[in-house]
Symmetry: C2
Subunit: 340 residues, 2 copies
């Protein structure tokens, strides 16, 4: 592959001029620029990213840290961010923390990120102190999605509000015995989201004078399988709740499968609401709170790009709150009332 030197020779200018002309810098004579462009095209020249990174200190790569890329929510965040970043000439280094505890330590560390990326996007992960400190030392723009994880900008939805809205929907339908099934992440993945959603649930219940016994708070991982297990546990009890608020649609779908297996009719015997408006929610006729997922990735990428363009850090007060929307489908309806 040709080097800048070859282009310089072919165009009859210095390498400095080639560099300037190709990057569109001002103060290059139009005719000179054209000659350089022509020579570069003829030689199929592309600047070595590695060399220009070393010289300029910029890599044009953004690290995207994701707990697990196989979840619908995360894959869509990544897709959204990746689209925007690529459109602006940035590449995505995918840092998939993965399901395994040990993996985590290898992702947000100096070895991985040092001098390798111009900025970092952290998706939902609650960072350890040592990771926060490292990101700080790196002195590069950082944005988190989903939750504030440090002194950086954040793009998110209002989880407490979302949970309150979902719970209010159930209460409005007449339900009083409502269970919460919330994500419990692997120990090494510290999300704060499930806690916020539970708090919203509890606030709504309290606001209506409803008690929430401990047995109505179930933990589950973020998968359909987890929701299924939680649902079976919950619905096989002597007195099952009449409604379930699940912290995600995948969990909610699991609860619906459990209900189907146990022969419970939805919604006459059990109402279920989730959060996300997952691609499959329609298929399950699932009532849910829609959140814009790829848009959150896109938005976070734009915030990052802005800082990158300005050569500044992301203002740590930056907080973009995206709208959510109650989508009523067939999985929720008026509830039965147990006697006192």
């Amino acid at each position: 592959m040709s080097r800048i030197e070859d282009v310089a020779l072919a165009a009859g200018v210095s390498t400095a001029t080639v560099s300037r002309a190709l990057r569109g810098l001002p103060k290059v004579d139009e005719r000179t620029r054209e000659r350089v462009l022509a020579a570069a095209a003829r030689l199929e020249y592309v600047a070595s990213p590695t060399a220009s990174s070393l010289a300029s200190g910029k890599t044009r790569v953004v690290g995207v840290v994701v707990p697990y890329v196989t979840r619908w929510y995360f894959a869509n965040l990544v897709a959204g961010a990746s689209r925007v970043l690529r459109a602006h000439g940035y590449h995505v280094l995918l840092l998939d923390v993965g399901e395994n505890g040990p993996g985590r330590s290898m992702v947000i560390d100096r070895q991985t990120l040092g001098k390798r990326v111009d900025a970092v996007l952290v998706l939902q992960l609650q960072l350890h102190d040592i990771e926060t400190e490292l990101l700080h030392q790196l002195r590069i723009p950082v944005v988190t999605v989903g939750t504030r994880a440090g002194p950086w900008g954040v793009v998110r939805i209002d989880d407490v509000d979302v949970a309150t809205t979902a719970t209010d929907h159930l209460i409005g339908l007449g339900h009083t015995d409502i269970a919460y099934v919330g994500g419990e992440p692997a120990p090494h993945l510290d999300f704060v989201t499930p806690t916020l959603r539970r708090r919203g649930f509890e606030l709504a219940m309290e606001g209506h004078g409803l008690r929430v016994p401990a047995r109505r708070l179930i933990t589950s991982d973020w998968t359909l399988r987890g929701g299924l297990a939680a649902g079976e546990r919950l619905l096989q009890a002597r007195r099952p709740p009449t409604a379930v608020f699940a912290a995600s649609d995948e969990i909610a779908m699991g609860v619906l499968v459990a209900a189907r297996r146990l022969g419970l009719d939805v919604p006459s015997e059990l109402s279920v609401i989730g959060i996300d408006d997952h691609e499959m929610a329609l298929a399950f006729d699932l009532t849910t709170i829609r959140q814009p997922v790829p848009e959150q990735g896109e938005c976070a990428a734009r915030v990052l790009l802005q800082a990158l363009a300005a050569g500044t850090d992301v203002d740590q007060d930056t907080e973009v709150l995206l709208d959510t929307e109650l989508v009523v489908r067939g999985s929720t309806g008026p509830g039965h009332h147990h006697g006192p």
Copy 2:
């Protein structure tokens, strides 16, 4: 951040020795190595990847080209590959072609890949000639997953065989009027997989002396939504088929939703089989052919790593065929027979 020079000074050796000691090269005195290691640790030194790439010509980055990372299949391939690559010290540059036509041209090009990656993993994409040629010019190891896309190693399942097995299952249950709903990618994403699966379907039908009228071959995109549309079209006809073979589980789930909407009982009035054993297949009680997805990603990564370690290309005859398995659930059963 400290440079190699700082470590050399602190350890009282040359930068060359630091470089050798830190990379574990032989012919370094043990005591020297220890001194260097200690100094490096004290200074929190990490070699600048950009500088060492420029000097060595190796980036320790693998480009992973994926049509869209939001599909279950692709997200799982990426997760599998990423896990193995990171375990071996390689990073993943995510090249998400995305849903938009124009995006494609920006991914497999010199601008993106030139000198930026040590190897490339291509997932399912059928490459254009110009892309094939570029990958060739790059002179780096390439492996494709899912389909042979050029003179490179491939990791895949036997799509024709899988489709035949699925079709035989339906025929074995007594079905004779079977429709195929197959993926039709966006025009710029040229998959060959749907064609292979259709061929397997047709082979099985022919093998049993069954005709396949054109109206029994339906195209659909690879989503539940696509399967739903195809299913509605198919099942609203005067004489719907008694069974459907869908080219993927997501499509199959869409067909199931269509059946439910139209009030058709599964499996007594309609049998449906898919391919994948998608995470949600269980919830739909879907009969399917299971394929190991993350394992295909892991396997492809290993083939790449082997070539990288050997400093060779991947032998273009390399072909790893992974096993699949029929998983019978409740969505298939004996079919009705229409009169002649």
